[in-house]
Symmetry: C2
Subunit: 447 residues, 2 copies
């Protein structure tokens, strides 16, 4: 039985461990932090998760029962709810029928659920194991994980899965053995976690429609909110760093929120809003990708460790889960681990590059374009064409979020072809409108 | 007196230390390796250096006498000498007059010379200091360098200069305090060091013209050779990795070299050639850049630590020396260290991005284009226009290698403008040639 060391007990690491364990590998998870199920420290930098089809597909592939449990704990969101400056709310469906939904779920709940499953599956879980470096056994070439602190024994495995997040130590080690292309880029946008408590006597009533992802789009900055099961919403404020830094005292925060997010101030509560701005850390957002993702049949990185993306397409976790799915499939299909890793690096790069780019672009859509008449017109034409042409015409958002059978790069390719046609139609419509208006004007002035 | 820790005792680190020391800073150099002047181990991965105007300008700025010593130990190269398959040699001037030269110099000689100057200047040199991490003093925020090995004392400085090469530990630390954009990309080309011994009874006679950079351009791969003072040439073979890997036994090497570099086999010597391929390590080539280069008034990276480039424009060291020049000038002009670092990051990035790109592109020119008739035609027009228009028209190579007053990004900008015009002229000439040929053909067929 081959032994596997999975570095990182986050969402992607746990799912990979479960999948490998089901395939008969002897799996150990090494996590640098303490068991989150025992810890009282809440992470104040979490952005709520939306699990959609790609994620669900991977969960189902690994364990249909697990997927069912997860889906019983989500809140489906069928569209965006746009809040304008006056507090007026307008709904925009995500899907074609109004029934397709992405699903709000609490990150720590999901992580704890996965950790419980991992334990049930007989996978060894070692917390407080901070990776120092990876050495190789001279005899069989197997990777040996060495940890910080002399009292922790080194561990040897047949291969290693690095699922240890954006600042991955496994990836840093990988760069020592292979010629790895690598890039990371921070976007000029930070974020801060806020929350909207539940209302009513029991504080468990939703103060906004729970089945929407709420957005207050204000061009350069925005506020969002996603519902939790207990009636509360987790809310996140995104803004360029210069704006975030100016919001450094109570007066500035209050003035800013009263001006741009008036209806949210009541929902969040004035005191709580100010407390969050005083106490919560500011998070930064980066895009990173590398190539290749593996070293021989010994080490591979997946999830954020291989490719971090900004959160604006709601695909970070879904894509990480899809990594697990793709890798498990290849381990099944290819002749050995080395061939599977090699094929993974070869085929996965273009899909990851596609979704990273889309995630970056979607900030514009969320914070700005959702307000634009031309955008809404294009979206309407998009929907009409889909209704007429059925599966021959699919909006990009639908392909990314609801069609796990279409890989990211394919979705972008189809979208680019469709977008050219859309632009032509849009211009014809706008042209007709201008023509019509000019006729009206002519009629009026001739009179 | 402010204290400065320079990490890295390579060429750029030494020059930075000398420059800062002259400006009144108390400088200490920390180097992870042993003193190269004491060591017998020859680096078998060096690619010969060509110092040109930007490098000389920086040396002169730091110490005119030092520049003079360096220039007394170089071999000027006024052009490329192209070796074709039959061994026929053709000279191509680098400059406009045939007198402008880039200057071959031995890397280890130059490094030892700089180390001697560093010691004379009273700069503290600490070898075998392998940086572990940078901490900060809680009281004054000063960086503290911590080294690997408990017996080595941590050192505190007012600020740190990281000149510790492509795999810079200072840069890796910097990434922990700031949001640094970063990219690295390996090109599909490795290299292997060879050499051509001196000839004659004393083995000190040059077997090729010493005042040329010799190139055997073979499209996807190439061989180059630069003269050393002792009559020998340091030669480097560059090729895509699949070709390099196939040259894994004596027969394959010999067959390959006999086929593509026949005249070089005699020069290098059959046995020595095979020995080199057996024993010498294969080097890889990467491009890397980051942004910003500094953290507050505490840490900055320069040279290869900030931007590694492939060696095909002969600008790696020259650019690193120019970094030192630009930084020293800013420390003079700006109100404090923080302002100087900040201005450096702001203004230097576009110049570095420009030269990195040019270096990558120049592989095509060296290995392939120098053989092309159209390239040579364009080059001739370029030279003619320069002669007519004087300073108003400058070939790119001239601006990069001989005009330290024109920054890299400016040179690229001017070149792009000129190149458009060149292409038009070239097309007119080629058009005229085609027209002329068609007239001749018509005349001949009508007869």
């Amino acid at each position: 039985m081959s032994t596997v060391g999975v570095v990182g007990a986050g969402l992607v690491g746990c799912l990979a461990a479960l999948g490998l364990s089901k395939k008969g590998y002897k799996v150990t998870i090494l996590e640098l932090r303490d068991d989150p199920r025992k810890s009282q420290n809440k992470n104040l930098r979490s952005i709520n998760l939306a699990v959609s089809n790609r994620g669900i597909n991977a969960l189902e592939y690994v364990d249909p029962e697990l997927a069912e449990i997860v889906l019983s704990k989500v809140i489906p969101m069928t569209g965006r709810m746009i809040h304008n400056l006056e507090g007026v709310q307008t709904s925009q469906n995500y899907g074609l029928t109004g029934k397709e939904a992405i699903n709000s779920i609490d990150r720590s709940y999901l992580n704890e659920l996965l950790l419980n499953e991992v334990e049930k599956a007989g996978i060894t879980l070692k917390f407080n194991h901070k990776l120092d470096r990876i050495d190789f056994n001279n005899d069989n070439g197997n990777p040996i994980l060495k940890f910080i602190g002399n009292e922790i024994e080194p561990l040897e495995f047949d291969f290693i899965i690095g699922a240890d997040g954006s600042f991955s130590k496994v990836r840093q080690n990988l760069q020592k053995f292979i010629r790895m292309d690598y890039q990371q880029e921070y976007i000029d946008c930070g974020y801060l976690e806020l929350s909207i408590p539940g209302g009513g006597p029991q504080q468990n009533e939703f103060l906004l429609d729970k089945n929407h992802l709420h957005i207050w789009p204000r061009d350069k900055f925005m506020l969002i909110a996603l519902a939790n099961l207990d009636g509360s919403f987790t809310s996140t404020f995104f803004a360029p760093w210069d704006i975030l830094e100016k919001l450094s005292n109570d007066d500035a925060v209050l003035e800013f929120f009263e001006k741009y997010f008036k209806d949210s101030v009541e929902l969040i509560g004035k005191d709580h809003l100010l407390k969050c701005f005083r106490d919560h850390p500011r998070g930064s957002l980066l895009t990173l990708n590398c190539k290749p993702y593996h070293f021989a049949n010994k080490v591979i990185v997946i999830g954020d460790a291989a490719h971090s993306m900004v959160p604006f397409y709601g695909q970070g976790m879904n894509c990480g889960f899809e990594d697990v799915y793709v890798l498990l499939k290849l381990l099944e299909q290819e002749k050995d681990v080395g061939a599977a890793f090699s094929k993974y690096s070869e085929t996965r790069y273009k899909d990851l590059a596609s979704i990273l780019e889309l995630a970056k672009e979607n900030y514009k859509e969320m914070s700005h374009k959702v307000n634009s008449k031309v955008f809404l017109l294009k979206k309407q034409i998009d929907f009409i064409l889909t209704r007429i042409l059925k599966d021959k015409w699919l909006p990009l958002y639908t392909m990314i979020s609801f069609r796990q059978d279409i890989m990211y790069s394919k979705a972008v390719e189809v979208h680019q072809r469709q977008d050219k046609i859309l632009k032509i139609i849009q211009n014809v419509i706008l042209g007709a409108a201008v023509f019509g208006a000019s006729r009206v004007y002519k009629y009026l002035t001739q009179k």
